[in-house]
Amino acid sequence: MTHTAIIIRILRIVFYVALALTSFAALAGIGIFFVAVKDLPRVPEPLIRIIETPPTEIYAATGEKIMVIGGRESISLSRVSQHFIQAVVATEDHRFWDHHGINKVRTLKAFWITLFKPGKVQGASTITQQLSKNLFFSFKRTYMRKFRELLVALQIESQYSKREILEAYINHIPIGVGAHGIEQGARTFFGKPAFELTLAESALLAGLPKSPTRYNPYLYYDRAKKRQRVVLLRMMAVGYITKAIADNASQTELNLRPLPAGARTGSYFLDIVVKSLEERYGPEVVHHGGLKITTTLDPQLQSWAIESMQKGLTELEKMLGIYKQSNGSSGETVTHPQGALVAVETNSGAIKALVGGRNYSETEYNRAVQNKRLPGSGFKPFLYYTALEKLGINPATVFIDQAVTIPVIGAEDWSPRNFGLKHEGPMVLKRALMKSVNSIAAQLVENTGPEEVIRTAHRCGIKSHLEPVYSVAMGTSGVSPLEMASSFATFATGGVRHETFWISRVEDALGRVLEEHIVSGGRSLDASFVYQVVDMMRGVLDEGTGSIVRRLGFDLPAAGKTGTTDGYYDAWFTGFTPTLSTSVWVGYDRGEGLWDTRGMGITGGHGAAPIWADFMIKATDGEPPREFAIPSVIRFEKIDPITGYKANDSTLNPLRIALREGQKVYENILGDEELNGSTNVVPSWSP
């Protein structure tokens, strides 16, 4: 046998083997085809119709639309800018108008790369295949999924025209920032309908579906511009535009529409709105039911709240020395402090602004609602109210600031210490609250009992579980900023409690009302005692631990209380005007106290109060001064803050106090000299 004959014989064998393999592959292909076809999803008819689902729209109290959940509004291809259509086709599938659902050359090439170049992946999906994947399949990468995706693409091509396919595609692609479809995308990014998009805008939007987050122009403008350039070059390569036009479009400055800063998709406030709606109606109704929800949010206040929080946290970081650390070369990961702010309308309970952390994109944990932190002395107003109501004392009653030890049955004695570890001796009750004296608070709770203080807190709107121990009066049970703002609003309204709410109206897609919030308040505290507490809390701002608020320029009638916990883990300031109650908390999420660069702890007055002041100055800008309603049984007296005697011409720094009908202050009949000589003559309170 000759050499050629051997080769030919081998070739023959190869040919027959190949033939057998091909036949086998064909048979296997037919088998796989029928297996894949068996539970292939049905393609809807018409294709575009199923994409249309009514959106759930959330509105601010001002009527401004602040969020759209789900919902696909499809538009016809004729209402889309030709630039965008060309940009999409050029970028995603330039042979779209010619093929029948699959680009065979590109598919073979991709297949070759996948098989023989491990680690490299090349996409070859046509627009029809992408549509098929988006409509029916998960993003799990398997050969079977890919095959089935291809089969559906082939069916779509057979069933619908190219225009219908492209129309469905552009109405379904994710553009980013919660926008789906080109119409929503155009309105979100440029505030205009899709048919008005320019070449530069179209190129930018056409580049986003590849990775809406990575190319988000709000966050990564330069990256988005580079992607836009890629799209323009593709359009040039396909022949849709010339180089000059591409260059011109590439250099055009994009006029992005600013996103509503206060309540963009995925803010802390919207989270609680959506969560409560889901609890009430179920997730399906919320995401697919096309509800129209009117919330209580004031976008302007929300925007200021975010601004104040950012500014306050930056200042706080400077105090903590984090600014320097961040710029240093240590390379260590720096933990940033967090903050929360809630503003509640006092006479309705409506939440007007809510900030749950420094940045929602970094952490979605809502510290305004979910974070139960110890309020520290911020809890004292509940104690003071209880004491006034139960002990028959008044703001002029004198207490001795001295070391106190309270025996506790079955536990160690309780010896609370003052913030500055010093004792000032006698002082009136109002001064004790203004200076946040712990030893006097301890004396009060010893006599009222912790249960009464807890009852008062619950009457005001605190809902968290509070431990019935003496220290509860000094805020040793965790509460949220929302609870603090809401419960202090009860003081602002003279003892009328309004349930906090954030949704005022819910309608279905046809405008039929599903629910409306009824603003109903019930008296939970006695107006005259409340006024006395409010008057004492005004002293906190005017001359007490929260006086920084006045120094920062907030001059409207307001009351409030600072709070700082042991170890400086939490810094609070909760305060209110007659119309708005706001609570601010700052601190680390876990395990760290707020210590400045000199090793001094940061208090509520220094950490939280400046944020409160900054926000409230803006929130009440232009508002005329409004006094808290004074009950008819209240009268005012000026007293000596040490002795509690009625002030006279010689009294230094007299203190104005509010007294109820029947409550008296006494003249100093002993004279100043004797009084100054001994504190024993001071008529201090004893149970």
Partner: protein, 332 residues
């Protein structure tokens, strides 16, 4: 012609031998491939019609597929024919199903709400409206509608719900635009609202008052027999007022506190019932009034002690009457 033996040696076949011809036929059918000896033989074989047809066929299949996508079209067309039998599965269908479920849920909620609203708005009496309110399903009425229902109540009961002067004040200053009613425990809560849904006045109606109103409203269009608590003590008006007159002057108002109200009613009193039950020191009296062909009952409350005195009088008179009738029958 040439052929090979078992050792592949070539032999020339003699065509003139019949035997060889037979052998040839047998050998030909079993003939193995052999190498062409020259180029001509190669070319002849390569360009054989059979080969060319095969190659052209394969090429035409590939080219036509590339050009006309017939395989894709065939598969696609086949899938179109099976489309209706395939499941509605996949992301977009799931969204579709969820949308349908959401719409159905919402429709149910709205239908329930509208039913409640319709029933309450269609109510002609206060009790009818109160009873139509379902738990967790409040009802919104206009202030005008509520005012009309309020006016259907007898004055004494209307006073218990809200002072007419307050209703008048709220109605006249225009701030009260809507009324929201909801079940609260066993009773009813009524919120008089302004345009911002702020509560101007909150009214609470306990269950016993609703039951009382119900009985009053029922009595208004019925007879004493419709009220079970009166069925044991129903007296003719003559007997009742005769007994009443026998009481001391100062006690009369303790039995009938508002005689003016009875006087203001059209028609005349035909019967009076005394309730078996005493509540909070009061006993109910039912005055059945005949007005043409219609009968109605007015309920008033008398002080327990005074009504007991009256009952004693009535029972004494009844006893006297029975004794008289007995003696008359004996005499006869």
């Amino acid at each position: 012609m040439w052929t090979r033996d078992e050792d592949h040696k070539l032999y020339k076949i003699e065509w003139n031998s019949l035997e060889i011809k037979r052998n040839l036929c047998v050998n030909f059918s079993m003939m193995d491939w052999y190498e062409p000896r020259d180029f001509k033989e190669w070319a002849k074989r390569l360009f054989a019609i059979r080969h060319l047809v095969l190659i052209l066929f394969i090429l035409s299949v590939f080219i036509s597929e590339l050009r006309f996508d017939w395989l894709e079209q065939a598969l696609g067309s086949y899938l179109v024919t099976t489309n209706s039998n395939r499941p509605e599965s996949g992301a977009i269908w799931e969204i579709g199903h969820r949308t349908i479920t959401a719409r159905q849920t919402l429709d149910q909620i709205v239908t329930d709400r509208q039913f409640s609203q319709r029933e309450a708005r269609g109510a002609t009496t206060f009790t009818q409206m109160a009873l139509n309110i379902l738990p967790n399903q409040g009802v919104m009425l206009s202030s005008e509608h509520f005012r009309k229902l309020y006016l259907t109540l007898p004055q004494t009961i209307a006073h218990k719900i809200a002072s007419p002067f307050e209703i008048l004040r709220l109605f006249s200053d225009g701030s009260w635009v809507r009324t929201y009613l909801e079940k609260a425990g066993d009773g009813l809560k009524i919120y008089l609202l302004n345009t911002n849904n702020r509560v101007l006045r909150e009214l609470k109606i306990p269950l016993n008052l609703i039951q009382y109103i119900e009985r009053v409203e029922m009595a208004l269009t019925g007879t004493l027999e419709d009220l079970p608590t009166f069925k044991n003590r129903i007296y003719s008006a003559d007997r009742f007022f005769a007994a009443l007159e026998s009481l001391p002057e100062e006690d009369l108002r303790s039995v009938v506190s508002q005689p003016e109200m009875l006087l203001s009613m059209p028609g005349h009193i035909v019967r009076v019932g005394i309730s078996d039950e005493a509540v909070s020191g009061f006993i109910e009296l039912g005055f059945e009034i005949e007005d043409g062909t219609k009968r109605k009952v007015i309920l008033l409350k008398g002080r327990e002690w005074a009504v007991w005195m009256l009952r004693s009088c009535l029972e004494e008179k009844e006893l006297e009457l029975n004794t008289t009738s007995d003696s008359q029958s004996n005499w006869m």
